[in-house]
């Protein structure tokens, strides 16, 4: 079946199997493999994207449900070769190891900071509790959130 949608600001269409997920369509039809497939049942958050502004696990959304939607993936978070402040903070804080959870976490953290520009630790932990990471023990991810929050608020003030 043909699905038309907007992804990272561009009109796209893909001819997908009716049972295909949004994640599969992004990865295998639209050449956007940045969203990851660690569990494909909504437990790990590695496939997090925004659909019409809402943070979703793209593995739990049928491609067909995304018909006409506006989807933003990790690839669309920053223009060109630039890094979003959350991406830069993940690099600087040492929050990246194997990196498989990273795209989903970057998206989830950007979403959190959009809602709450200066979250405290319990708020961060609750917001990111749907994103599994097996490498870092999460400490440096929390550091990255604080670092990004500080830089983003600084940028806002200047």
């Amino acid at each position: 079946m043909l699905v038309r949608l907007r992804v990272n600001g561009e009109e796209q269409e893909a001819d997908v199997w009716p049972g295909a997920s949004l994640l599969f369509m992004l990865r295998e039809h639209l050449n956007l493999p940045g969203s990851k497939n660690a569990c494909e049942q909504g437990e790990c958050g590695s496939c997090s994207v925004w659909m019409d502004g809402d943070l979703v696990c793209s593995c739990l959304v049928l491609a067909a449900q995304a018909e006409g939607a506006d989807v933003l993936t990790v690839e669309g978070l920053a223009a060109g070769g630039e890094l979003h402040p959350v991406q830069q903070a993940f690099v600087d804080a040492g929050a990246v190891q194997c990196g498989f959870c990273t795209p989903g976490l970057v998206v989830a953290v950007a979403d959190l900071l959009g809602e709450n520009p200066d979250p405290d630790d319990p708020t961060i932990r609750e917001a990111l509790s749907g994103n599994l990471c097996r490498c870092t023990g999460y400490q440096k991810i929390i550091d990255a959130v604080h670092l990004a929050a500080a830089r983003m608020s600084g940028a806002g003030a200047s």
Binding site: P33, V91, L128, L132, R134, C135, G137
Partner: protein, 802 residues
């Protein structure tokens, strides 16, 4: 340091060793541009799928692929009879069939593989492969497997290896004895990135394989004979690795993907989902340990008597090495004058176990540290004081007779850990729901919270043991370039996510005084083996090879500089210049390169070790890394729920080459040990994994892992590059023991099983009862039993013999 050039001139190098240089792969990873194995794609590729056995033990009577072959999109269905060459593979013994051959030994064993145009077509066709089984009685309990009447997993029986270590007088008496039984569950490595690979048939009749693996060359040596191809026609390149933790030491889909590509003449991608990943990779061994510790009244240990059994599952994998490792650690990181340590690895009809971070040591630490706490209680001593009194040090003699030659700052770890402040007391009532044990799902509000503190000290060998020369090759090339010389590193050493490449780059910068370092693809073409990225060895081993190769390049440059500039005395490299002892310019490296390059290869060997003798004696391990952790927990005793409040960690790292990455290893390793302490258990029923998903197999979330307050103990190890020890495993070894000790402290319960479940805490499940200690099996000690029965050696063993 170097006979050719004398001592070097060492100056601070930007992003050299000892600083937290940024990850070389950090930016593509945050952008979603880093290509992992599951992201591989090729024009016209097919999707592979594996048909697996639903039974743990059965005879395969017939396989009928005809319906599957006729299904839409299907291009090939292959069984054991389609294997072009050798029909088995394996790390230590070649005991695992490429596809089931006559007999099934575990639930999930591959029976057939197929390739189709789309993953959905492949999956559906898999259901059409008709397999007729004759189901056999299975043995799925490790102690029952030792019974001579138990079903035999392999024809020669179920004992895989028995290690026997005697030290001093194991009949020695002591003033005080404590004894106990403990169990640990099977733990899944659960790397977030599932197994994946892409096999591309080549015009020369060979195949190019892109795959996530921890050791490219040992894969090559297992794959090529099965494909009946010479090694040079199987070219393996590392695909982006989404974590490993030991699970990718064994071949998973490599041979299957290559067979399908060679048969169909098209690229074939295989990419496991989470459920298949649980079934397909090797895991941490479940363990049972019976132990007695005797001490004098003053708290000095006198004797340790221990019996350990681990379940290797259906195939050997690395179980012979795991049981050897584990048995050597059964007496803990303590000076013990007398010991009898017995360890047995068995075959069963459970899924095979192999390597996972810690490699046998976490299980022994869990058992031993529980008894150390009990002994402290019997003696009325502080648990830290008891450990300080007995801790190993440089010069200590281990139960194997091995003398610790290198650094062994066990006491320093204990003392540094003790100095880390505990978290303040928290008011029990009125908190946000997520700040109670169990989080938002908790139905109590802090009515019966108890706090506890637990300690664990542990240690682990670095690099392979028992005489294995697991060397590492590297080639470093220095190019002339406009903005200064550029170093290029070629190794087959695998980046799993631990930060290896960043550290190798730091080493090259340090040695060559360059700013720019690039990496050639990590492959099996034109470069020798780097050994495995496991056993906490790769920074040490591949790092050493890069250092040696850099020094070869450096010596060549110095030679040219001496000839061209006519200087003598020590020289150094800094910022693209050769300098003398006063820092004066001798020559520009670019000029010495004269528009070309200098390339040097090197092989790094660690010091030789020995195999066990008949009494388990020998210089078995290369070196040791120690760690101490203290856990503070809060337990809701009404609900049996645990919240870990803090982990304090002090780890012996030798020298931290990249401190940020070292802290990351400690924090991540701690989280995995915490998982085994309170939640992670592969639940098996008659050999079937009942919780093969992240819905049912829980790994710690950001709400479960507390702040980890770490201290690095830096006492450089002599005679190793930069004095750096491996840092990947020690924290995992101690955190399980520390967290469960803290829960014991909070509840007063004996808790001898990891993970601790809520039922254990609220009294719905009694402590594990191991029954009587199983007898030592009637097999020769130390030697792996399959070897005695003519089982073909695995590739790892063949490399060891070379």
């Amino acid at each position: 340091m170097n006979a050719k050039t004398g001592p070097g001139v060492r100056e601070r190098v930007s992003r050299g060793i000892g600083v937290s240089a940024p990850r070389v792969d950090g930016i593509p990873k945050v952008q979603g541009k880093f290509a992992f194995a599951s992201d591989l794609w090729a024009e016209g590729m097919l999707w592979g799928h594996t048909v697996r056995s639903p039974y743990p033990h059965a005879r395969v009577l017939s396989i009928d692929p005809s319906a599957a072959l006729a299904a839409p999109g299907v291009k090939a269905v292959l069984t054991i009879d389609d294997v072009p060459g050798k029909r088995t593979f394996g790390l230590e013994f070649s005991d695992q069939p490429v596809l089931a051959e006559g007999k099934i030994r575990y639930t999930g064993e591959p029976v057939a593989v197929l390739a189709a145009e789309t993953p959905e077509e492949a999956r559906r066709a898999g259901d059409l492969v008709r397999v007729e089984y004759d189901v056999l009685p299975a043995v799925t309990d490790m102690v029952e497997a030792l019974d001579p009447g138990a079903p035999r997993v392999h024809e020669f029986g179920n004992v895989l290896r028995h290690i026997h270590i005697t030290h001093g007088d194991p009949d020695a008496e002591a003033d005080v004895w404590v004894e106990g039984y403990s169990e640990t569950a099977m733990q899944d490595n659960a790397p977030l990135g599932p197994e994946g690979g892409l096999a591309v048939p080549a015009e020369d009749g060979g195949v190019d394989l892109y795959v996530n693996t921890q050791w490219l060359h040992v894969d090559l040596q297992q794959i090529a004979p099965c494909l009946a191809l010479p090694p040079e026609k199987v070219r393996i390149t590392l695909a982006g690795m989404g974590g490993a933790f030991g699970s990718r030491e064994d071949v998973h889909l490599q041979i299957h993907a290559c067979m399908l590509a060679l048969r169909t003449g098209r690229p074939v991608k295989m990419s496991f989902g989470r459920e298949e990943s649980f079934v397909a990779h090797k895991k941490r061994h479940p363990s049972r340990i019976w132990m007695r510790i005797g001490a004098n009244r003053d708290g000095k240990l006198v004797n340790v008597l221990a019996r350990m059994v681990i379940d290797g599952g259906a195939y050997a994998s690395s179980s012979p090495a795991v049981i050897a490792n584990a048995t050597t650690f059964l007496a803990g990181p303590y000076e013990v004058p007398n010991a009898r340590l017995e360890g047995t690895a068995v075959y069963s009809n459970n899924p095979p176990c192999g390597a996972m971070r810690g490699f046998g040591a976490p299980q022994t630490c869990f058992a031993g540290e529980a008894l150390m706490d009990r002994l402290a209680g019997e003696l009325g001593m502080d648990p830290v004081e008891l450990r300080l009194r007995n801790a190993l040090r440089t010069g200590s003699v281990l139960p194997t007779g091995q003398v610790i030659r290198g650094t062994a700052p066990a006491r320093e770890c204990l003392e540094a850990c003790r100095e880390i402040p505990e978290p303040p007391d928290e008011v029990a009532t009125g908190r946000d729901a997520i700040e109670y044990p169990g989080g938002a799902g908790n139905v109590s509000r802090g009515e019966n919270l108890r706090r506890g503190v637990g300690w664990a000290l542990g240690y682990k060998n670095v690099a392979y043991s028992e005489g294995f020369d697991d060397s590492a090759d590297a080639r470093v090339t220095l190019f002339a370039a406009t903005d200064g010389p550029v170093a290029s590193i070629h190794t087959a050493a695998v980046e799993c996510g631990q930060g290896l490449l960043t550290v190798l780059g730091q080493i090259a910068r340090e040695e060559l005084g360059v700013d720019e370092v690039v990496f050639e693809p990590h492959d099996t073409v034109g470069i020798g083996s780097a050994g495995s990225s496991s056993a906490s060895r790769q920074t040490f081993m591949a790092g050493g090879a890069v250092q040696l190769a850099c020094r070869g390049v450096r010596d060549e440059l110095f030679e040219r500089a001496r000839q061209e500039a006519g200087v003598e005395g020590p020289l150094g490299l800094r910022e693209g210049r050769v300098i003398d002892a006063e820092g004066r310019l001798v020559a520009f490296v670019n000029d010495l390169l004269d528009g070309g390059s200098v390339s040097k290869s090197a092989v790094h060997h660690h010091r030789r070790t020995q195999q066990f003798d008949e009494h388990g004696q020998g210089d078995i391990h290369v070196m040791f890394a120690f760690a101490c952790e203290r856990a503070v927990v809060e337990v809701d005793t009404d609900l049996g729920l645990v919240r870990v409040l803090q982990i304090a960690a002090a780890q012996d790292v030798g020298k931290a080459l990249n401190p940020q990455a070292v802290y990351g290893q400690i924090e991540g390793g701690t989280a995995q040990g915490l998982g085994l302490a309170v939640m992670e258990e592969v639940r098996l029923e008659a050999g079937l994994i009942k919780n093969a998903s992240f819905t049912d197999y829980l790994i710690p979330t950001i709400l479960d892992v507390p702040p980890v307050e770490s201290v690095l103990i830096e006492e450089p190890e002599p005679d190793v590059p930069f004095g750096a020890k491996g840092v990947g495993e020690a924290s995992t070894i101690v955190s399980t023991a520390a967290v469960v000790a803290a829960i014991r402290d909070a509840t007063g319960l004996p808790l001898n099983r990891a993970p601790v479940s809520p039922d254990d805490i609220v009294g719905l499940r009694a402590p594990a009862d191991g029954g009587p200690e199983p007898p030592v099996p009637d097999v020769p000690w130390q030697v792996s039993i399959p070897e005695l029965h003519g089982m073909g050696m695995g590739q790892q063993e063949l490399m060891k013999a070379e």
